[in-house]
């Protein structure tokens, strides 16, 4: 429980950082913002990796399922965002 307050502090501060940066993203890029932020929310992949390595069988299986879909989220998210952003060009 003693870790709770520092973690909550980090959470609150990160929310504020999020609000500050994201309000500056122009509507032009809102779709890539969604897919890109989605990709980074696949950070759960870390928890999935640790779970797969658990000696407990149930944990391992749940972790494996989580690992597969979190990887889809991460790889799919970054790739599709990259593909989209490559289309935003300025012609001269």
């Amino acid at each position: 429980m003693d870790a709770f307050i520092p973690l909550l502090t980090i959470f609150m501060l990160a929310v504020f950082v999020g609000f500050e940066i994201i309000t500056k993203v122009p509507p032009l890029l809102h779709t890539p913002l969604m897919s890109g932020s989605n990709a980074i929310s696949g950070i759960t992949i870390i928890g999935a990796l640790l779970s797969v390595a658990s000696p407990n069988r149930t944990t391992m299986i749940l972790g494996f399922l989580a690992l597969v879909i979190a990887t889809v989220n991460v790889v799919g998210g970054f790739l599709v965002t990259n593909r989209m952003l490559g289309m935003f060009r300025k012609k001269d």
Binding site: P27, A39, I45, L67
Partner: protein, 473 residues
């Protein structure tokens, strides 16, 4: 679960996590300008790679049985293959579906991880169990809600219209209470996994019920909100694992989704609650309203007539709507714009915040068609210029150009900010028929003196226009 190695190990790994978090924040900051956006996304991806590699160095994984390492490889290969295939194959018009699917997977993964950790926790703390409840609840709602959104966008099983029935809110409330009760039981009896299973099951039903009541055109709000949920689920899993990077990243994404949700709601002048309960479906319109608005006043036009209009025009504005995405007309529209520009007409695009099915949907489509992003104008930027516009070409849009929003306080869309196309000299509307838009109300723009209706499929109509403009020369 916290069978981490010696402190040095853990400090090192956490420092790498910190570096990855910084990369995520810089990455999102890169998205504030199209010039730096590609690099920003790459920074995010680099942060993710760094975090994953650091995790693999964790004693629990490094010292794990070969079988576990094989499963990790298999899981990453499988997920990576599916993700890459989806990302490279998906059509730009289908981006809302793609994001819905990604939201689903993010939320689902968080709920699964929280469950996996709970199963093997020997002495779970209160922080851990409470966070597990949040992950399970939000993650499951996100997973199923996003799948419903995906289904609606694809038009597979569920109707585009909101699914509403009497007592729906009461039922949702009751299910929410059951979920809450199960959540309390998970905290009280963390050893009994059945409670967590029950929570996930009930939350799944809740996720489905909460999303079926949201209509197709309100999907921008739904997707933004689910995006936020997927972040919050990840943050909450961070509390389960005592892991900073999950908390930081999850809250960034949570904040992003909330901001987009608010922007979308504002662009429709509706409250979030109003969108969630599908209230606009109770619109007061009827057939007779439509007759009163349109009777004898709608002027149908031809490609030749519009070509003549363009011939004398100095400035034209193109307004893309969801109909453009449906008929995949973005490349033809670009060709038409290029042709007009070669004849000396100034062409710009007016993008309404809720045009299409997700935030920024129209921008992505026009960018795909190789339109310079400087020509894609936001509503507030372009609205003052309609008075100096000779021809506004509306393609497959309806409610976002309905002047009733400005003039009729009794209209269901009263107060919604719209593109003021009616102020341009001539408005040409490409549309299949006079059928109402999502709000279910007639649009007086179609019967206005300066409006010409060009009935037909978006892509075909634009192709006809191109041919006519070429002939006119």
């Amino acid at each position: 679960m916290r069978a981490q190695g010696p402190p040095v190990d853990s400090v090192f790994i956490n420092l790498i996590y910190l570096a990855a978090s910084v990369l995520f924040i810089l990455g999102i900051r890169g998205l504030t300008h199209p010039r730096t956006a590609v690099r920003g996304n790459l920074m995010g991806a680099a942060g993710m790679l760094l975090a994953v590699v650091a995790t693999l160095l964790d004693r629990q994984i490094f010292g794990a049985a070969p079988q576990a390492l094989a499963m990790i490889l298999a899981g990453v290969a499988l997920g990576g293959a599916i993700g890459a295939t989806l990302a490279l194959r998906i059509a730009m018009t289908a981006m809302p579906e793609m994001v819905a699917l990604l939201n689903a997977f993010g939320g689902g993964a968080s709920a699964l991880v929280a469950g996996a950790v709970l199963v093997s926790a020997s002495e779970p703390s209160a922080q851990m169990t409470v966070a597990t409840v949040f992950s399970g609840l939000i993650g499951s709602v996100t997973f199923w809600g996003s799948l419903v959104a995906f289904d609606k966008l694809r038009g597979l099983l569920l109707p585009d219209a909101p699914v509403v029935f009497p007592g729906q809110q009461l039922l949702n409330g009751a299910i929410g209470l059951v979920a809450l009760g199960l959540g309390v039981m998970v905290v009280a009896e963390p050893g009994t996994i059945a409670f967590y299973g029950g929570l996930v099951a009930v939350a799944s039903v809740l996720g489905i019920l909460l999303t079926i009541s949201i209509g197709g055109a309100d999907m921008p709000v739904a997707i933004a909100l689910l995006n936020s949920y997927s972040g919050l689920a990840a943050a909450s899993t961070g509390f389960v694992l005592d892991n900073n990077i999950l908390i930081i990243t999850g809250s960034l994404v949570g904040a992003s989704g909330i901001i987009l949700t608010r922007i979308m709601c504002k662009a429709m002048n509706r409250s979030l609650i109003n969108v969630l309960v599908g209230a606009i479906a109770e619109g007061t319109s009827s057939k007779s309203d439509a007759d009163a608005v349109y009777a004898g006043r709608v002027k149908s036009t031809s490609a030749e007539e519009v070509a003549m209009l363009f011939d004398g025009a100095r400035r034209a504005v193109i307004v893309p709507g969801y109909g453009l995405a449906v008929s995949q007309a973005q490349h033809q529209v670009r060709d038409l714009a290029n042709l007009l520009e070669s004849r000396g007409v100034e062409v710009e695009y007016a993008i309404h915040p809720v045009a299409g099915r997700m935030p920024g949907h129209m921008n992505v489509l026009m960018a795909e068609a190789d339109v310079d992003y400087d020509k894609l104008k936001e509503m507030d930027a372009i609205n003052p210029s309609f008075e100096q516009t000779d021809v506004s070409l509306v393609i497959g849009a309806n409610d976002i150009v309905n002047p009733d929003a400005r003039t009729d306080p009794a209209s269901p869309i009263a107060g919604m900010p719209i593109l003021n196309v009616d102020q341009s000299r001539t408005v040409v509307v490409i549309k299949r028929s006079l059928s109402p838009g999502f709000a279910g109300i007639p649009n007086p723009l179609f019967a206005a003196d300066n409006t010409l209706m060009f009935f037909g499929d978006g892509k075909q109509a634009v192709l006809d226009l191109i041919a006519a403009v070429k002939d006119a020369a």
